[in-house]
Amino acid sequence: MPLFEAIRLALRTIRVQKLKSFFSLIGVLIGVTFLIAVVSIVQGMNRYMQDRFANGLIGVNTFEVRRFPAIDNGNVTDDTWREWLRRPRVNYKEAKFVAERVRTPAIYARTCFEENMPVSQGTLRGKIEVRAADEEYFRIKSYRLAAGRTFTLQEARAGLPVIVIGDLVREKFFPGLDPIDKTLTISGLPYRVIGVLEKQGTLFGFSLDRFALVPFGAPVRRDLCAENVVHELWAKTGGPDAMVAAVAETEQYMRIARRLEPDQPDNFYIETAEGALGTWGKISKILFLVLPGLVAISLIVGGIVIMNIMLMAVSERTREIGIRKALGARRRDILAQFVVEAATLSSAGAILGIVTGLVLAFVVKALTPLPAAVAPWSIGVAVALGVTVGVAAGVYPASRASRLDPIVALRAE
C-alpha cells in the first residue's frame, strides 16, 4: 500500500473517532505546545535583550568606561561590592589620556548624571534624569531629534545652559506646547530648550524618555558629579573589529593611566552590550538545557498513550485485520497501516501543539511585556518529534497486528 494511501486511511480512522483520537494525542500536544511556547518566548527575550536592552542601553559597537558595571551580572557578593566601592572614579585626566592615545578610530563623550534631579517649568515640578554630556554623545547613542537641534560646539565648550529633552519630559513639562526656546529650571538656573528627542519607548515597563541632556560644561554638572570626575566615558567605533581593538586599547591605556602592575586586576570596568547580556545568556542557557528534558518527558508519556491506544485499536480491529489479510494484505501492509496511523495521530498532536504553542506565545506577547518571536527551527523540530514519537509508539502494536493469523482474526468479534 503506498504511503499517501496509508495516510489517507489513517486520517479517515482518526476522523471517525475524533474524541478518542484527541485524547490519545494530548500528551504529544502538550509536549509540543511547551516546546514552541518556551522557545518562542526565550527567542523573543533574546531579541528583546539584544535590541532593546543591550543595544538600546549601550548600543552597537559602543562601550563605556566606568568605575563598576551599571548593569550588574546577576548576584554580586558583598566582597565584590566593597571592592567596587574602593575603586577610584574615572577622572578627566584618564578620559583625556585614553581618548588621545587609542589609535582605533572612535568618538568619545564624557557623561555625568543624576537619575532623580528636581526640575521645574512654571508651576510644574518633577524629577527627571539629568545628564551632562559632551556633544558627541548624540552620535554615540544615535539619538534622533523630533524637533530643534543638538548642542553646538560653542555651547558645549562654553557650558551654556541649553538643554535637549526626552519625549516624556516634553509631555510632562510642556503639555500641548512647543517646548523649543522655552525654559526648564534646574538647580535654580533656567535652561533653554533647544531640541526634543524622538520617543524611544519603554524597557521592561520603564520609560526611556524621562531624561534631559545638558552640555558637559553646563553649571548643573557640579550637582551631578564631583570635580574632575567622569561617571562614564563613552566611545563608539566603526564596526565589530574596531570595537574589539578599541576595547583592548582602552583597557591598556586605562591601566597605564592608573599605573597598574601586571598582576593587579583592572580597577575599572568596560561595559559592552555583550557584557550586559551575560546574565540573560546564563538564564536562557539554563532554559535551553532544561527544556529538552521537559519536552522529552511529555513526549514519552504521549508516546506511551499512543502505544496503548494503538494496542487497543489492534484488538478492536482484529477482524478488520483478518479481512484485509484475506483480501491480500501482506504483513508489511498491516504493519505500515498501523505505524502510519500512529505517526499520523502523533503528527496531528504535534501540529495542534504547534498551533496552541504559537497562540500561547502570542497571548504572552499581548498580555505581558515579555516579547515572543517564533523560531522556525522549533516548528521543524516539533514536526520531526511528532513523526518520530508516532513511529516509535506504533511499531510494537503494528507488528502485533501484522503477525495475527488471518483465520483467527476473521473469527474475532
Binding site: 477482524r319 479481512i323 484485509r324 489479510k325 484475506a326 483480501l327 491480500g328 501482506r330 483465520i407
Partner: protein
Amino acid sequence: MSEPIIRIRDLTRRYEMGGETIHALRGVSLDIQRNEYVAIMGPSGSGKSTMMNLVGCLDTPSSGEYWLNGQEVSRLSDNALARVRNREIGFVFQTFNLLPRATALHNVELPLVYAGVPTKTRREQAARALTQVGLAERMGHKPNELSGGQRQRVAIARALVNRPSILLADEPTGNLDSVTSEEIMRVFGELHATGQTVVMVTHEPDIAACAARVVTLRDGRIESDRSTRGQAA
C-alpha cells in the same frame, strides 16, 4: 481436458490442541476444473472449514499438495500466500466481512489497493464490479445502510473485482433469509454462467443443490463426490 484450476493431492491438516492431535483432514484428493461450480458439504467437524481455509490459502497443509492455477501453493511463505489470496481467490463470507466504516465502493476497492492498482483505475473497476451485482446506486453507502442481501452483493463484488481464478464462498447464505438467499444464489448462478469457477462451502443441502457438483466430507475424508447435473434442481 485442460489443466484443472484446483488440484489437491493427499491433503492433510493436523492441529495440536491441549497436547492432543486433531486430524481435521486425513488425506483429501480433489480436482476442480475451470468454470466448475462445486459445493463442499458436510456436517460440522467434517473438516469443511479446514478445507475452506486451505483452498483459500489462509492456512497451509500439514502434508500433501495443492496446485492452484498451475502453482504449488502448499509450501509458500506468508507474503507469497497473501499475493495468491489477492490475485487468485475471491472470498465471500457468511458474515459478509465488510469494513463497517468504509463505503461499499471502498470495500470493493480494497483488494485492488493491495494489488497496487492506481487510484483512478481502482475506482473504475470497483464501480464496474458493483454495477455488475446490481448496486450501482449504493456505492456511497456504508454497510450498516445496506440490507443483508445488499451487503452480500458488495462482498461478491469485492470478491470479483480482482478477476480471481476461483470464487470461494463460505456459507454465503448463512445469515440471510430464504428470499434473499435465493437472490444471492441466483447471482452465483449467473457468475458461473459467465465462466467463473465457484467453490462453495455449505451445510445446507438445498444451497448445495445449486451447484453442479457436490463434494461431501466426513471425518476429514471425502465421503462422496457426485454431479447434480440431470437431477431436478
